[in-house]
Symmetry: C2
Amino acid sequence: METPGISAPSVPAATEQDEHVRTRLLNAAVRVFDRKGYAAASVREVAEMAGVTKPAVYYHFGSKEGLLLAILHQAERQLSHTLEQADLRPGSARERIVALCEDVYALFGQHVPLARVAHAVFLGPPDGAPPFDVTVFEVKFRRSIERMVEAGIASGEFLPVATEDVALGVMAMLELCNERQLHPAFEPVGPGVVRRLISLFFDGVMNAPRG
Amino acid sequence: METPGISAPSVPAATEQDEHVRTRLLNAAVRVFDRKGYAAASVREVAEMAGVTKPAVYYHFGSKEGLLLAILHQAERQLSHTLEQADLRPGSARERIVALCEDVYALFGQHVPLARVAHAVFLGPPDGAPPFDVTVFEVKFRRSIERMVEAGIASGEFLPVATEDVALGVMAMLELCNERQLHPAFEPVGPGVVRRLISLFFDGVMNAPRG
DNA sequence: GTCTATACAATGATAGAC
DNA sequence: GTCTATCATTGTATAGAC
């Protein structure tokens, strides 16, 4: 499937087959941690799936923990990026909140194994994973929603309800959708569920007559 | 703290110190699985915390998996019991739904370590735990809510909205509250959150003027 | 029923050659 | 940077005494 261009040996092509070992190890670790869980996964299996041997893992990441931490930092960067983009979006408060949730939902859907690993660390046993502040994204996300809600209240778009409860309700809807998107035992929910559920929730918040 | 009654040696007192080995092992396993995670927990640690030795575990439960399955069946029985009670409760649809969610929330709060272990198995890696149909309770719970919603629609208490979406929204609120009750990184939410959040959600569903 | 002692496999991690 | 070979530890599970 590759276009065999004129050979340029001084510029090694970055094909998927010839990725850097670091990247191959990260991708393999996500797959193995996702299937076996971090504690039950073995460094040997990760190395084999990446096509290298065990010492390569310890050379690049120092330990099994270092491998997981690299994965988590990668996830954190992607989430923070999505969050920062949403803060700059124009539109009504309601539409901005829905759009942010749809963005996060889409991001999770594009990186299901990575999201599952991060989710497992977030909810997993305290002793099972290395210390990693998993609440930083939750706090950032809640603050973003709360700012949007406050703007909506100030503009008269929302009723003067409890800002914190509205943020929790929105997060609840998004988390439910993500859970059902990530967990293999659930039948997949349609693409419009996020918008539908949050709209259902908002129709008790909007300061406007129904219809 | 025990009342030293007249000695009755033929009836051994069921003090907490003198529980049956089976029960002590179950309680210890919940604590260890909760802290370390099922995969990382060792049978030796469970046995030591129960005050017995390793072979006692294999005598009573056959294997480490059998120990976990006994724990999960115990949790399943408690949840099914709460669900069956809620189906018989009288009152309006809205109040019955809120009461059911408060019951489940209280049940989780009374058995936090057990709930965390069950939650971890539910969301954990597919290869990490033995096969156990964790969706059975989720389906039962959703059907209960859906029946209540349909009754509310039929009686005119609710607007003719999508029953499935309402059930999902209610479950989302309950799950968020339970997550924050179970996860040590979250500051505890107050006792009225379940009712408050679900009420906030319902105020967009009720077929009645606001106020 | 519960113990001591042990079999046996697998793990995370390292040393040192190349 | 990546390999081969190896170490010390820990895991589940069992055999057999009592």
